[in-house]
C-alpha cells in the first residue's frame, strides 16, 4: 500500500474533528484584546496586525527586568498550547481503533508513521488557517484592511513602541505572523508525537509546555518557542532571533522527528488500549 493512500485516510479521518470548533474561541481572545487596544488608540488593525498580535509573545526578559515589569504572554501561550493539545492523541487513538487494521494491511510501519507526520503538519496548517479566518472575521467586522499591510501607527500601538516606528513589508508581516509561528508549532507538535512513542501523551504534552515556558524566559534562538514570538524577531528588535536560522532550526527538527520517529516506531510494540 502506498503512502498517499495512508495520508488520504488520515486526512479524511483525523483532520476535521469536532474539537476543531475550539479554535475560533481560542483565537478570538487575542483578537478581542487587539481590537480593544487599537480602538482605544483610535486606529484600526489590518489582518496582519491581528495575526501578529496573536503570535506576538513578549519582548526578551533581561536579567535586570523585575518579574513585575515583564508581562506573561498568557494568550500567546494558550493559542500555541491549544494547537499542541488538539493534536496530542490522534495517532494513539487511531491505533486503538481502525489503525491496527490499517497498519497490518499497509504492511509497512514506516509509511504508517510518515502518514501520521504528514497529518500532523496538515492539522497544524488547519489550526493556523482557522486562526487566520478568525482574524479575517475580526478585520472585516471592524472595517479593517484585509491585507498584509501593517502600518507604523498600528504596529507602535500593538507592539508597545518596541518596533521603533518601523513599518513592515507585507512579506515580513507574513513571515512573522504566519510562517514562523506555523513552523515552530509544527516542530513542537512533531516532537510531541515522537516522544509519545516512549512515554505517555500527557508527559509529552507537559514537555511541550515546559519548552514554551522556557522560551518565554530565555530568548535563545535554540529554544524553539522563540521563533513563534514575532516581537523577538531581529526584523523588529536589535539582537532578536534571526528568522532564517529559526526557520531552518524548525525544519531540521521536523525532519529529525520524522526520521527518528519512524525508526523508533518500526521497533516499537503496538499494544491495545487494554495493555
Amino acid at each position: 500500500m502506498n503512502l498517499t493512500k495512508l495520508i488520504r485516510h488520515d486526512l479524511q479521518c483525523g483532520l476535521f474533528r469536532l474539537r476543531c470548533l475550539l479554535v475560533p474561541p481560542l483565537a478570538a481572545l487575542p483578537c478581542l484584546l487587539c481590537l480593544r487596544i487599537t480602538d482605544s488608540a483610535g486606529c484600526k488593525s489590518s489582518w496582519a496586525g491581528y495575526m501578529m498580535y496573536c503570535f506576538m509573545g513578549i519582548e526578551p526578559i533581561s536579567v535586570q527586568d523585575t518579574m513585575e515589569k515583564a508581562q506573561f504572554p498568557i494568550l500567546w501561550l494558550i493559542l500555541i498550547i491549544g494547537c499542541l493539545y488538539l493534536h496530542l492523541d490522534y495517532p494513539l487513538n487511531d491505533l486503538s481503533l481502525t489503525g491496527q487494521q490499517i497498519i497490518v494491511r499497509s504492511g509497512n510501519r514506516r509509511n504508517w508513521y510518515l502518514a501520521k507526520c504528514v497529518w500532523n503538519l496538515c492539522a497544524c496548517g488547519l489550526y493556523f488557517l482557522m486562526v487566520s479566518l478568525t482574524a479575517s472575521l475580526f478585520t472585516v467586522l471592524t472595517g479593517g484592511d484585509l491585507s498584509l499591510n501593517c502600518d507604523a501607527a498600528a504596529l507602535k500601538v500593538l507592539y508597545l513602541g518596541e518596533t521603533g516606528g518601523k513599518t513592515l513589508p507585507p512579506l515580513t508581516a507574513l513571515l512573522l505572523s504566519l510562517i514562523l509561528p506555523y513552523l515552530t508549532v509544527s516542530a513542537i507538535s512533531l516532537l510531541q508525537m515522537t516522544l509519545c512513542l516512549i512515554m505517555k501523551p500527557i508527559f509529552c504534552f507537559l514537555i511541550g509546555i515546559i519548552l514554551l515556558l522556557l522560551s518565554v524566559y530565555w530568548d535563545s534562538p535554540l529554544i524553539l518557542g522563540n521563533g513563534a514570538m514575532g516581537i523577538r524577531s531581529s526584523l523588529l528588535i536589535s539582537g532578536g532571533v534571526a528568522p532564517g536560522p529559526a526557520a531552518e532550526e524548525c525544519c531540521l527538527i521536523i525532519i529529525l522527528c520524522m526520521a527518528i520517529g519512524s525508526w523508533m516506531f518500526k521497533r516499537s510494540d503496538i499494544l491495545g488500549a487494554r495493555d
Binding site: 500500500m1 493512500k5 495512508l6 485516510h9 479521518c13 486503538s96 481503533l97 481502525t98 491496527q100 487494521q101 490499517i102 497498519i103 497490518v104 494491511r105 499497509s106 504492511g107 509497512n108 510501519r109 514506516r110 518500526k266 521497533r267 510494540d269 503496538i270 499494544l271 491495545g272 488500549a273 487494554r274
Partner: protein, 213 residues
C-alpha cells in the same frame, strides 16, 4: 503458508508475557488457543500479527523473519481485542474504507462477506448504533473480506447468540477449506474443541500443544 515461532519470549516492564514459545503452524488448519485470562493468548496473536516484536527468539513466515524481512505477514486478517470501527460510518462504509487501502477487494465481495456474517450490507445504521454482537460480526467480516492466507481471531464469538456462534463457526470452516491458516483464541472449550484441528494450551506465557485431530 507456514509460520515458525522459535523460542519467542516477550517481556514488557519486567513481566514475561510469552515465555520461550516454539510453534509451527500450517495452512488449511484451525489452531485454537485455550487458556485463562491473562495467560498470553492475545499476546501470541499480536506476535504472529507482527504488532509486537519478540524480546528474544523469532517469528518467520514462509522462511521470512517478521521484523527483519517484513513488518507484517503479507496477507493477514485480524480481530484482536474488541472490534473497532469509525463510529459515524455504516458497516459497509467502514469495510469499503479498509478495503480501499489495499485495493484487492471489490464492493461485491464486501457485500457478500457482510451477508455471510449475517449483516445486511444495506443497513443504513451507523456503527455506533450497532449492538455488541453486530460489531463482533463486522469485526469478523473485516478479518475475512480480503480472503487472507492468515486469519487471527481473538474471542470472535464474544457477545454472539447461539445462531451467531454457529454462523461464525461455519465461516471459519469454509475459510479453512479455502486453505487459510486460522489461529483462534477462545475461552469457551465447547466452541474451541470441535472447531479446532489442534488446541494449543497457553498458561503463564508458555504453550503446550494439546489435542490434535
Amino acid at each position: 503458508m507456514k509460520i515458525d515461532i522459535t523460542h519467542a519470549t516477550k517481556e514488557i516492564g519486567g513481566s514475561i508475557l510469552l515465555d520461550d514459545v516454539t510453534l509451527t503452524l500450517q495452512s488449511g488448519r484451525i489452531y485454537g488457543l485455550q487458556g485463562p485470562n491473562g495467560s498470553g493468548k492475545t499476546m501470541l496473536l499480536r506476535l504472529i500479527a507482527g504488532l509486537i516484536r519478540p524480546s528474544s527468539g523469532s517469528v518467520a513466515i514462509d522462511g521470512k523473519k517478521l521484523g527483519a524481512d517484513m513488518d507484517f505477514p503479507p496477507s493477514v486478517g485480524l480481530l484482536i481485542e474488541n472490534p473497532a470501527f469509525l463510529p459515524n460510518n455504516t458497516g459497509l462504509k467502514n469495510l469499503e474504507l479498509l478495503a480501499s487501502l489495499k485495493g484487492t477487494t471489490d464492493s461485491g465481495q464486501i457485500r457478500r462477506t457482510l451477508s455471510r456474517t449475517g449483516l445486511d450490507p444495506d443497513d443504513p445504521r451507523k456503527v455506533r448504533k450497532y449492538s455488541l454482537g453486530m460489531k463482533q460480526r463486522l469485526g469478523v467480516a473485516a478479518a475475512i473480506m480480503e480472503q487472507p492466507d492468515l486469519i487471527l481471531l481473538d474471542e470472535p464469538t464474544n457477545a454472539l447468540d447461539d445462531k451467531g456462534i454457529a454462523c461464525i463457526c461455519d465461516i471459519l470452516r469454509q475459510e479453512r477449506e479455502r486453505g487459510a491458516l486460522i489461529v483462534l483464541a477462545c475461552h469457551d472449550a465447547e466452541i474451541l474443541y470441535p472447531l479446532s484441528d489442534e488446541v494449543i494450551k497457553v498458561c503463564d506465557g508458555r504453550v503446550e500443544r494439546g489435542q490434535m485431530k
